[in-house]
């Protein structure tokens, strides 16, 4: 009876935005008479931090301090459409909508500033809350003064709207699944190593360390993206070794209807998590960002399964890798069937073993 250590790895990719696209987001912005900025977006914040991320994008695009920005996603009377917070789209697609709205508001801001400074708006830029003449920084006016002038002198409202839509990519050939335009907004990539300890007496699998590298495009907010990656890691760990609605799937018996009967990961399960960020900017996302919210729970389960094999020499390919499955696998010590150049694992799980002939998985001879 002993503890066995093992390590496994995985590499994954994941698309940003709805599969096949066609998922718009819209936003609008208005400026108060002192230059402070109100953003109206329909993006729900589900804990992913989209209020923060979209506010950061607006602040830099308009050229005003972050704390000038108020973000309102509270209701559908005020905020325009956002397809929703899913498909890793809130930073990229909805982020593009607020960026375009900010660009449009900035155009109006520069137009009013141009009148005040008597300079062509094309020769102006916004830097840290001031509208400045390019190449002549002594000629400037604060954004606050421009907003006041718009309100009290010119009788105008500085506002801007923006929308982003990657066009729907239809499947042009249902036989092959071929598409003719990209079916996603960007692709993100990650690699993961999992280290485990397996107790061959109790069957318990402990994940002791995760090393993960994610290409996030651009980290709009490094703290929040690390939070997504590390929170996702715990959800992936749950998928790998803890959680199941149907412990004896496909049976529906023994479902857990309370927290005491359903093992979601807790703090005691938290391994050492080492997070590495690569910034390989996307061509068309806001400031080069990609969406990585969902994929954060994808690389751990296969890395854990490989680590368990490394530790105890059995492949467990039904998740989660529970103590019961570990002990049964150790008892069975299953070997693949070898038939010529074909190596067949998991035969007992195949449709070929269970179906009464209605479905087969045949491999070319």
């Amino acid at each position: 009876m002993a503890m066995h250590k093992g390590r496994g790895i995985s590499a994954i990719e994941y698309p940003t935005g709805m599969n096949q696209n066609g998922d718009p987001s819209q936003a609008w912005i208005k400026m108060k008479p002192d230059g402070r900025v109100d953003v109206f977006s329909g993006t729900s914040d589900i804990g992913n931090g989209s209020k923060t991320i979209q506010s950061q994008i607006v602040a830099d695009t308009l050229g005003v301090p972050y704390d000038w920005v108020t973000y309102d996603n509270t209701n559908t009377d005020s905020s325009p459409l956002c397809t929703g917070t899913f498909a890793s789209r809130a930073t990229f697609v909805a982020g593009m909508a607020v960026k375009k709205a900010a660009e449009s508001a900035r155009t109006k801001l520069l137009e009013i500033a141009g009148k005040e400074l008597e300079i062509d708006p094309a020769d102006l830029e916004v830097v840290d809350g001031e509208v400045v003449a390019k190449g002549a920084p002594q000629k400037k006016i604060s954004v606050s003064d421009v907003a006041a002038a718009a309100t009290w002198t010119y009788g105008e409202l500085i506002t801007g709207t923006g929308a982003h839509l990657n066009p729907y990519a239809p499947i042009v050939d249902p036989e092959t699944g071929r598409v003719e335009i990209p079916p996603h907004a960007a692709i993100s990539y990650a690699a993961c190593a999992a280290e485990v300890e397996v107790d061959d007496e109790t069957g318990d699998v402990r994940v002791t360390r995760l090393v993960q590298c994610f290409d996030v495009g651009t980290a709009i907010n490094p703290t929040l993206v690390e939070g997504q990656i590390e929170g996702g890691a715990m959800q992936g760990l749950g998928l790998g070794v803890l959680e199941s609605c149907y412990p004896y799937y496909p049976s529906v018996e023994n479902r857990g209807g309370q927290f005491g009967a359903y093992l979601a990961p807790g703090m005691e399960d938290l391994p050492q998590v080492d997070t590495l960020i690569i910034e390989n900017p996307s061509a068309d996302g806001p400031y080069g960002a990609k969406g990585i919210g969902e994929m954060a729970n994808n690389p751990q389960p296969p890395a854990i399964a490989a680590a368990v094999y490394d530790a105890i020499g059995v492949w467990i390919t039904e998740l989660p890798i529970t103590p019961e499955r570990v002990l049964r696998a150790l008892d069975a010590k299953a070997e693949p069937r070898r038939d010529g150049k074909v190596v067949i694992f998991d035969e007992e799980l195949s449709v070929n073993a269970v179906s009464n002939g209605g479905m087969r998985f045949e491999v070319p001879a």
Binding site: S10, C82, G84, T176, C245, V343
Partner: protein, 456 residues
């Protein structure tokens, strides 16, 4: 001072950790009624009779709704994409999963609402149920769904999602080894701290204000408007701050039924699922059944992949056809495999309908493809980093459905992890990049995979 790239604290962080954020359950509206649901006691049954008269007559009960009260009973999650609807908002003649809503009560307090639910007289006749997707195609399998046991409405009215690329026969013929495996990740719960909840308020002008925990305000507003057959200006969704969703709160699980109770009672109504309902009746991540056979060379090139996926959709379609399509687009994972034959089916069973969850469609195939990759490396006696690096998709490679990769990072992310672990690699792997393939990294079988340089 730049905001982008700065480690700014969360916009709503202080409010969250000091308990001052207003979630739906924190909304207090005077005169609010409580809703409770009568749910199916059976996995699969015909409804023989449903009598709500005793519940309606109870003191403190203001409204009871059944399928008869829904202007448009069936509206699909993907109706906006032209995919037909298959799920009634409230069960009519039949129940297809345990926990399926049949009737709802709105009453002065939670206890009265539950007592009224208990007073509803329901008679069902149980039918054989199907739980194993592998048996769904057999002639003796219980019949689960009006469209058959698997979804038949993919493009061209195909009954499966297919990917075809290159020649699978040639790849398997040329292979030194063919490695097969079966992968079955489990259904899991979203486990949001905030259970499904909504509060609907009838306004004096006839509008409904709907406090919602949806992840998608406009999507859910569209769903409610469709079922109620009203224009969008009759509804105001209030939300945008969600106490955990992970995909499960795209379902619009409560808003429509709560709105119907509000319209019928003329009073504000709140419906908050218990933790037990959240675990047992809310949709889950799908369980998946995946079989992979890879044609490989002895030095670790993957020439071809044949794959069968059975996606356990539960009793209705919801987002499953979308999820399976996404799955098929990514079934080669982070690698370029030139010869492909993928068949995927959305299979109906008598379990709670499955839905979107973080990584929808791809979490499953990441597990299958990557565990399979680890097995191939072990079987061939190759380093697990090296086999991944050589097959990794590169700039100019094409995806399963013919899209050219423009900025892949498979190579640098793997190298970064190897470096962090101190895992030693030969020089030609250590210096590999994502640039367009050439030399030893452009074997004959991948020449035809390279897209036009102008496409990337």
């Amino acid at each position: 001072m730049k905001a982008v790239g700065a480690r700014l604290p969360r916009y709503d962080g202080v409010a969250h950790v000091t308990g001052r954020t207003q979630f739906v359950d924190d909304v207090r509206i005077a005169g609010t009624l409580w809703a409770k649901a009568l749910r199916s006691p059976a996995h699969h049954a015909d409804i023989k009779s449903l009598d709500v008269s005793k519940a309606e007559a109870m003191k403190g009960v203001l409204a009871v709704i059944t399928w008869k009260d829904v202007p448009l009973l069936e509206y699909g999650h993907l109706s906006a994409l032209g995919i037909p609807a298959d799920e009634p908002l409230l069960a009519k003649d039949e129940v297809r999963y345990k926990g399926q809503p049949i009737a709802l009560v709105a009453a002065e307090d939670e206890e009265t609402a539950q007592a009224a639910v208990d007073a509803i007289e329901l008679e069902v006749e149980e039918k054989p149920a199907l739980f194993d997707v592998r048996k769904a195609f057999d002639s003796d399998a219980p019949k689960v769904h009006q469209w058959g046991n698997w979804y038949p409405h993919f493009e061209g009215e195909m009954d499966r999602r297919q990917i075809r690329k290159g020649s699978i026969d040639e790849a398997f013929d040329r292979a030194d080894t063919i490695i097969q495996g079966v992968y079955r990740p489990a259904a899991i719960e979203h486990v949001p701290v905030e259970t499904q909840v909504c509060q609907v308020v009838p306004e004096a002008d006839g509008r409904l204000t709907i406090y919602s925990c949806t992840q998608a305000l406009y999507f859910s507003m569209g769903v409610v408007a469709a079922h109620l057959q009203v224009p969008l200006n009759r509804l105001k969704f209030v939300g945008g701050t969600v106490g955990g969703g992970f995909g499960g709160k795209v379902d619009t699980a409560t808003e429509t039924m709560c709105s119907l109770l509000t319209l019928k009672s003329g009073r504000p109504v709140k419906w908050r699922w218990t933790r037990e309902e959240e675990f047992l009746c809310s949709s889950t991540r799908a369980p998946w059944h995946m079989e992979i056979a890879d044609a490989v060379t002895k030095d670790g090139w993957i020439l071809g992949r044949k794959m069968l996926t059975l996606h356990d959709s539960g009793a209705y379609s919801r987002f499953s056809p979308y999820g399976l399509t996404k799955h098929s687009f990514h079934h080669t994972g982070a690698y370029t495999i030139p010869n492909l034959e993928f068949d995927g089916y959305v299979v109906y069973t008598n379990r709670v309908p499955t839905t979107a969850m973080r990584g929808f469609g791809v979490t499953s195939v990441s597990f299958a493809a990557e565990t399979h990759m680890s097995r191939i490396a072990k079987e061939l006696g190759l380093d697990p980093f090296e086999i991944r690096l050589k097959n990794a998709n590169r700039i100019g490679d094409t995806s399963p459905n013919g899209v050219v990769y423009t900025d892949p990072s498979t190579v640098p992310t793997i190298l970064a992890v190897a470096d962090e672990l101190g895992h030693e690699l030969p020089a030609d792997y250590r210096t590999m990049s994502s640039e367009r393939r050439e030399g030893e990294w452009l074997p004959e079988h991948l020449v035809g995979q390279l897209g036009n340089p102008e496409d990337h």
